[in-house]
Subunit: 223 residues, 2 copies
């Protein structure tokens, strides 16, 4: 039983990796940079994207794929803020997006008119870490309302990421959260991690986030 289960899982993962490579090639051919945005539920992915679409939607020719377990709430929230395309994926209970879903979503996006694609994954610090979506960057939002030890407790998510964005920093004065310790734990799991700190609600740190996205979307970034 367990052997069969592992065998099926390995075949499913291998198939996902093939499809992710196809997505990556498809995006590279059109000069599109994709970012896989992951976090716990309620860490602020959608609020960050609302502000990002308002600032960079047009200048960076953004498109968004918003994954959710059962609703299109996030896609609907985002669509209010932009004329840019927001494509919803409802996973129907599944705990992560996969490359097949992203590949299908790309059929609805005009890639020739897109430079930056942000994929908002399902809110979950475990499962999405194992699924390559064909992205160039993996960004984990780590909210300061969570404990500092999240990287140690959910290491795969942080091992596989290249950027960590600490969110809701406006709440720091009311929390025992130690930013230095949190970053130390992140680096313990993955020394290559780079960091940003933002409050999407108050605006703090958003310029650095926008600058990261501008650089990520620049034609030379993928070379």
């Amino acid at each position: 039983m367990t052997v069969r289960r592992i065998e099926v899982r390995e075949r499913v993962m291998a198939r996902n990796d093939e499809l992710a490579a196809q997505v990556r090639a498809r995006l590279a051919a059109r000069g599109v940079t994709a970012i896989n945005l992951m976090s716990s539920p309620g860490a602020g992915k959608t609020t960050l994207l609302e502000r990002t679409l308002a600032e960079l939607g047009e200048p960076l020719d953004m498109a968004v794929v918003a994954g959710d377990v059962q609703t299109q709430n996030d896609a609907d929230r985002l669509a209010v803020h932009t004329g840019r395309l927001v494509q919803a994926i409802v996973t129907g209970g599944a705990c992560h997006l996969d490359a097949l879903q992203v590949n299908d979503a790309l059929d609805h996006i005009d890639l020739d008119r897109t430079r930056l694609l942000i994929i908002e994954n399902v809110g979950n610090l475990v499962c999405p870490a194992s699924w390559d979506l064909g992205e160039r960057h993996r960004v984990v939002l780590f909210t300061v309302t969570e404990g500092e030890d999240k990287p140690l407790k959910y290491p795969k998510m942080f091992e596989k990421a290249d950027w960590v964005v600490l969110t809701k920093t406006d709440l720091l004065p009311y929390l025992p959260f130690d930013v230095d310790r949190a970053m130390r734990y992140c680096r313990q799991v993955n020394p290559r991690l780079q960091f940003l700190q933002v409050s999407a609600m108050k605006g703090d740190g958003m310029d650095a986030w926008f600058e990261f996205l501008r650089r990520a979307a620049a034609p030379s970034a993928g070379a």
Copy 2:
């Protein structure tokens, strides 16, 4: 491929349900009430349990099973606060506890000296909802730093729960979180849900939480 995957999953779930029934019978035979405590990562399960062990560990003959993906951090944190048994389960990457793991953990617990068993699940609002652990109550912690729409976005977790504990209520003055709307969304998904509001950090609402546990652990509660 997909058919095979679903078939394997159904057999795994059916086996889990059998084992959960065994766990339930085993606990009932010893008069132990089990509570499956679930939430997003960082919603405050461990902090709530620290305070709970300090107050009720001895009076309610508590034991705790603490599930984590890769570390024993939570079990270690809890063990500091109590002479009661804290049994760690490391899932080795899996995104939820299952009934087999709980059944195995019970071998390490003196059930004749236990009245209340709290099972701290992996921090995840998706996967743990599907896995019966043999518990009597399912309690979801819903932190006020998350958005009000979490019940709509992760409905299975709230459908299968009987209690919702709003946590970190001391942060409400600094957040746009609307408690009434959050509770309305909870009831929309599951009209039978009952509610508590706590700040484990500041102590607000903890008496009602303790009272819920005292009643849950009373011999008549399982009749």
